[in-house]
């Protein structure tokens, strides 16, 4: 079972690193990080902060783009090219196929993130900023954010086209970062329907603000370890649920 999932994951990884989209995004991410050096004169004495802010933001944003654009095509492409028949003709269960694809994409993202993080530390070194290992906490929390976003992208990939999947996943991504604001605004609403609906959406949609600790990390604010652990558990729980729904949807398809 685990061997079959791993085989699918490594195959997905190999396939993805041949993807031009991934390479382009990686190059762009490193360019954006590099551009922080150009912005330095405008930073009004806040050079270290700007470079770190832009670097961490670029890592998250470009990895989300990889998850959405590559993840949104993963399952759909297999169905489109009819290669799904070859895979499913082998003794591979459908849930193994979905989990294998997911693990493969997470490996791609982890590798991309590692490359970008090395790039960020290199740029910080060249800028004359003393890089702190504490930045890695923000990177790891971004990876947990991707655990959720990728699961959502895979879920959409099982029943809509890649473009629709990208649009829906981006929508979830943005709403996931605004959920707290929406909840606060809804709390002011006099309508009980709006209150109940907003509370429901707050808990059902992924709350991605749980993973955004970039501001605190850059300013060396001490983070609550309990909150970080809970956020990591939340990511795993949400991703497992989203993948379970993906498996349910995928199992009902006729191949």
């Amino acid at each position: 079972m685990a061997a079959r999932v791993w085989a699918l994951a490594t195959n997905t990884f190999r396939e993805a690193i041949r993807d031009k989209v991934l390479l382009t995004l990686l190059v762009f991410a490193l360019l954006v990080m590099g551009s922080a050096k150009v912005i330095q004169p405008l930073a009004l004495g806040e050079e270290a902060k700007v470079v770190q802010d832009m670097g961490l933001a670029a890592i998250t944003l470009f990895c989300v783009l990889i998850a959405v654009l590559v993840g949104g095509r993963l399952v759909y492409k297999e169905v489109e090219k009819r290669t799904i028949y070859i895979v499913l003709a082998k003794p591979v269960r459908r849930w193994e196929f979905i989990v294998g694809k997911y693990v493969g994409l997470m490996l791609v993202l982890a590798a991309s993130m590692a490359i970008m993080t090395v790039g960020l530390y290199l740029i910080l070194f060249l800028t004359g900023v003393r890089p702190s290992a504490y930045l890695l906490v923000a990177v790891v929390m971004s990876l947990f954010e991707l655990v959720v976003v990728t699961a959502v992208a895979i879920l959409f990939s099982t029943f809509v086209t890649p473009i629709a999947s990208a649009v829906f996943t981006f929508a979830i991504y943005f709403v996931g970062h605004l959920s707290r604001d929406l909840r606060m605004l809804a709390a002011m609403s006099p309508s009980p329907v709006v209150k109940v609906l907003s509370q429901f959406l707050y808990y059902v949609l992924p709350n991605l603000t749980n993973f955004n600790v970039r501001g605190e990390v850059v300013h060396n604010v001490l983070l609550n370890p309990q909150a970080l652990i809970l956020a990591a558990l939340y990511a795993l729980c949400y991703a497992a649920t989203a993948l379970l729904i993906s498996v349910l949807v995928f199992s009902r398809k006729d191949f």
Binding site: L42, E216, N224, C237, Y238
Partner: protein, 298 residues
């Protein structure tokens, strides 16, 4: 056909009911887990969660940096900062009444969008009365006047703060005069310019000014601030009126009154004024005080 050959009837064997139900139950349990974890996260991060982003803003040395960073979206960025500023204000209004970053946030906000008159107006009033930073409020309004020379609201607010808080009646009169000359200015601006010079520090004028502010805004938070100030004014008036009667009594009789009731019986005051916070006024060795502690005077 197959049945005829094999002589067996074919009934498709589908998955059992349990096999169908299990994934659905697992999905539901997954969401229950997500819900419980989110509750735990909210509980763990309750302290400071609402202020996280506003504190992020506090780290910026000035709004100038944000203005550049926002590229062509300064107005949108200002809108987001505006929402945060309101949240920050509301949060502290309900909790500790400390507004450490309010001035800084409004500086960022008005730098991002120099024409955001509503932000100047609300920011100046809350800075002057809630954060007790009238000088900072006037400075912000003067900066706003440079960017918006035709906006009467800005010099008007500056005049109001100079009159009410800084007690600089000459500056107040000058600000009101500038406001009265601008297009669409309130008619009261000219009147206020005059009274600022002639009736400095009078409670009846102050009350009228606050009422004008109240009726001239749709901002609920600002109206609540006005109501708080009117209540405070009523308390101050009551204390001042009673103290005046006590002093007159002492001058006429050569002794202090036994109680405030004696002032009424002796005809030094018509009746004891109402205490606006639900407490009562009392005499404490020649000084009129109230039973309402300062902490309860919202």
């Amino acid at each position: 056909m197959v049945e005829e050959i094999t002589g067996q009837s074919h009934r498709p064997v589908g998955p059992g009911r349990l096999a169908l139900m299990l994934p659905v139950v697992l999905v539901l349990w997954g969401f229950v887990g997500v819900y419980l974890l989110q509750l735990a996260i909210d509980d763990t991060r309750r302290q400071g969660v609402q202020e996280r982003l506003i504190e992020e803003l506090a780290y910026f040395p000035s709004g100038r940096f944000l203005r550049q960073a926002a590229v062509e979206y300064q107005a949108v960025a200002a809108d987001f900062v505006w929402l945060r500023a309101i949240q920050y204000y509301g949060h502290h209004l309900m909790t500790d009444r400390k507004y450490e970053w309010l001035g800084h946030v409004f500086e960022i906000l008005t730098t991002l969008d120099e024409r955001f008159i509503g932000a100047y107006h609300f920011g100046a009033m809350t800075l002057a009365w809630d954060a007790s930073e009238p000088n900072q409020a006037v400075k912000m309004l003067v900066d706003g006047m440079k960017a918006n020379p035709m906006a009467w609201q800005l010099p008007f607010d500056a005049g109001f703060i100079c009159y009410m808080q800084l007690e600089d009646y000459e500056a107040a009169s000058e600000f009101f005069r500038i406001a009265s000359k601008l297009p669409d200015a309130w008619v009261v601006a000219e009147r206020w310019a005059a009274v600022s010079m002639t009736k400095a520090g009078r409670a009846d004028i102050a009350r009228q000014m606050w009422l004008d502010i109240y009726h001239g805004t749709e901002n609920r938070a600002l109206r609540a601030l006005v109501l708080r100030q009117l209540r405070h004014l009523k308390l101050e008036e009551g204390l001042a009126r009673l103290q005046q009667a006590v002093d007159q009594f002492q001058e006429a009789k050569g002794r202090l009154p036994v109680s405030l009731g004696e002032l009424v019986r002796a005809g030094f005051i018509e009746k004891i004024p109402e205490e606006p916070y639900g407490g009562r006024f009392f005499l404490d060795g020649g000084q009129v005080r109230t039973t309402t502690p300062p902490t309860r005077r919202e």
